[in-house]
């Protein structure tokens, strides 16, 4: 990837350009569900970073909840008999 190389070249010369940072911040903004709807220009970098932190935290919480649920389900389910069903439903 040529852009990877260009980026490492820049940080070797110890300079991270502002354009690069803004680029990355806007990329992040595209991923976040909250900020994606709003206009690009109006969201500040601080806000994007804040939203990112919040989003990652909420994703972590969801993973924790799902882990609990899966742990309970694993108790009661015999994996071998239903694993065909699982794989089937996941692959569809």
């Amino acid at each position: 990837m040529s852009s990877w190389r260009s980026r490492s070249r820049q940080s070797n010369s110890s300079r991270i350009s502002e354009e690069q940072i803004n680029d990355l911040v806007s990329k992040l903004q595209m991923i976040l569900p909250e900020t994606r709807i709003r206009n690009n220009d109006r969201v500040s970098s601080a806000r994007v970073l804040q939203e990112t932190c919040n989003y990652i935290k909420s994703l972590h919480r969801e993973v924790d909840d799902l882990s609990e649920r899966l742990a309970e389900l694993l108790e009661t389910t015999d994996m071998t008999s239903s694993q065909a069903a699982i794989i089937r439903s996941l692959l569809m």
Partner: protein, 213 residues
């Protein structure tokens, strides 16, 4: 260090960012995040997740229960494996858990180095000297630090790298949530139908699948 302090004229003609420039306002999604949204990644991850969960369950004693923390760790390890060690957070997860996985990763990618990063010397000095305007604000700095704590293995990274890792990590987490939710749905559907099948001892996978869906 004859670094030209022309951070304003950073859009020099020699920058080969061709894949970003034309499509900056339109919607082609950037490749590192798209990779987490493909069906291939989902299938890969779901298979790994199922294997990891089954292994976790086998390791658990009969009297004990599979804890949610074990499930979460299995899910995280599976996610990091699916990333194939190409991102720092995934390497941090895998190195943290299991030292024998290191061999797998070293075989997989040549760039896995724990201590010797060429860029490590430069950024702390550079960050103080040549930061762009937005990074000097106190708020932004604080939030960057918070972000660095949330993404595994990314505490001391320079801002640009941290932002990239965060974007990749968010996409991966979304995949993880989607897959775990689908698995939980499938399992709970299967649990409803499974007791009936176990009584008759005729485990017909097709019947279960039809009932489950």
């Amino acid at each position: 260090m004859a670094s030209v302090p022309s951070s304003s004229s950073s859009s020099s003609p020699s920058q080969p960012k061709t894949r970003k420039k034309p499509g900056q306002n339109s919607s082609p999604p950037p490749p590192p995040q798209t990779k987490w949204q493909t069906g291939t990644q989902e299938r890969l991850y779901s298979r790994r997740l199922v294997d990891a969960l089954r292994a976790t369950r086998d390791r658990t004693q009969v009297q004990e229960s599979v804890g949610s923390r074990a499930v979460k760790e299995a899910a995280d390890s599976a996610l990091a494996l699916t990333a194939r060690g190409q991102s720092r957070w995934s390497r941090a997860i895998l190195f943290g858990r299991n030292s024998c996985r290191r061999k797998l990763l070293v075989k997989a990618g040549g760039k896995i180095r724990r201590h010797r990063r060429k860029q490590h010397g430069a950024p702390p000095v550079a960050a103080a000297a040549a930061e762009p305007g937005v990074l000097k604000e106190q708020k932004v700095k604080e939030r960057l630090r918070k972000l660095g704590r949330l993404v595994p293995g990314c505490r001391k990274l320079p801002a640009a790298t941290l932002l990239e890792e965060a974007a990749d990590y968010v996409a991966a987490l979304e995949l993880q949530v989607r897959t775990m939710r689908a698995l939980a749905e499938a399992l709970s559907a299967a649990t409803v139908s499974a007791p009936e099948e176990e009584e008759t001892e005729a485990v017909d996978p097709i019947a279960i699948a039809e009932q489950g869906s």
